[in-house]
Assembly symmetry: C2
Homo-oligomer: 342 residues x 2
Amino acid sequence: MAIITIVGSGMMGSAIGIPASENGHEVRLVGTPLDREIIEHARETGWHMNMRRKLPESYKYYQFEELSKALEGADAVVSGVSSFGVDWFLQSVLPILPEDLPVLAVTKGMIEENGRLIPYPLYYKRQLGSLRRNLNAVGGPCTSYELADRDQTYVAFCGEDAGTLKFLKSLFETDYYHISLSTDIIGVECAVAMKNAYALAVTLAVGMAEKRDGKLHYNSQAALFAQSVREMRRLLKLVGGGDDNIVFGAGDLYVTVFGGRTRLIGTLLGRGMSFDEAMRELEGVTLESIVIATRTAKAVRALIARGEASADDYPLLLHVDDIIEKGKSVNIPWNKFELEAL
Amino acid sequence: MAIITIVGSGMMGSAIGIPASENGHEVRLVGTPLDREIIEHARETGWHMNMRRKLPESYKYYQFEELSKALEGADAVVSGVSSFGVDWFLQSVLPILPEDLPVLAVTKGMIEENGRLIPYPLYYKRQLGSLRRNLNAVGGPCTSYELADRDQTYVAFCGEDAGTLKFLKSLFETDYYHISLSTDIIGVECAVAMKNAYALAVTLAVGMAEKRDGKLHYNSQAALFAQSVREMRRLLKLVGGGDDNIVFGAGDLYVTVFGGRTRLIGTLLGRGMSFDEAMRELEGVTLESIVIATRTAKAVRALIARGEASADDYPLLLHVDDIIEKGKSVNIPWNKFELEAL
């Protein structure tokens, strides 16, 4: 039996412990200072108040000030924070962890810096300077509540060390949680981070169709999905990630179009709301995806400015960015999707 | 104004004339001997009885014995038959067409022959022997009724001659029907034909989830979608099609999962029915996709037998084929999706 300490009791952090606990491991769920109520509630009721799912009976709960107790004897640590908690985790948690303790981050996303997209594990590593930590991350299509429902799920764990990855897989793999392993951190993380901008793009078609005749249409969603896959493949190449990671990108795009909060905003924009109107409508919803989407676009714009990428290759990404950043109306650049391979 | 003669008044044949007619071209819809009732009904009412959509007022209708009249002065011919009509079209229509008249086939699929997958345009060409015909085809995500509803749609026209492709595009392109052009016939056609087996595969998850808790789940659909994209990329490479065509394959897979009849049978199989039981349940539904799926699998099995492909690369396709051909129960080979890129 191993001990797994999860720091951050948001939905994904809380859900990923489920397969591990069913494998007989001890799972300790530690709230961040923002998670106080979730932990209190779960301690009393065994229920995750945001995910609205029962957590395993064997889970142990800790408030953040009990972190050091929760880390005693831990064999692995999960970072369960969202993109908004990445710097907090970097400053408040990573430095106090033992050097070789494997860390698995559920946070999907990238930092943008002068036109470079840096996956979180590499960002952490750089910010830690001389502090050595064993950093790994999860990518691939997985919504937390469906994992909690034991839906069949297929993800990738990525990191630098093959042995660590195999160890992590042994802790988490069950007959419903399936794990590929990859040392291509840039490939896996960029593929799945890119889905944020493109899930917004695909769901524009949901709102456009609703506005027109109140029905769901799939031709237009599929058209935007196809163009998204095309641009994601180009982006993967641009950042130097392996081509096969489009598999995780396309899968994550699929699940985000249907199971994620991004669909809400894409639909409102597609119906004709401006970005500001849509954000007012969705008051209270945390849209991590918007932050990652604009970072992705910012990186691509910087590369275009430097002549290292062509605007013609990313018409959909740039349109999504125009909608978010410049308040533009939805006006899909269909003609720019038309290629002549003659 | 050009004259476009569509032979085969099934749903897609009938729908693809709509953008052309809105471009001011004369569209003549010719029924096959099996379409007699559709043509009679449309002539009287302007309504397509199977698609349940109004056809453009300007459409002209012909029974098959009026074909030669319908071909008078035609600038392009559309083959609107399904896979089951391919040989009929080859024998009864292609030989009587003028040599240089461009033909655009809406039929998606391939012929399997000794482990080779041959797209219809190339199959036609070979069967015609010394008869020269200008053969082109449509691929990409498009359901007929949504095209008839003027949903935004993105497809690819493929063929050997760039000039012909540009001419065909000029006839059909509108502000809702967007067309890429490609001379990579094998790439485009194989990418979109492969969606048949994989749409069945993805929709198994719909039935599996329904059986378990009556709900829709997307993690499992996305997992199968991801593996489908992976295997489709491998198949594309195997047949020598260009890598970028995965864009049309993924888009067509997406639209077929949601908008096609294949979803019906995948869902029944996922709920636990045998293939025979599912086919009895769906009596009367023509499942072209099943035929194409088994052809695809047959080709891959032949290549595996010859040592030119590995069974490890196509676990999902082979499982789908086992379900169809051997009556096996659904038992997704999840472990075979797990890769170690270390």
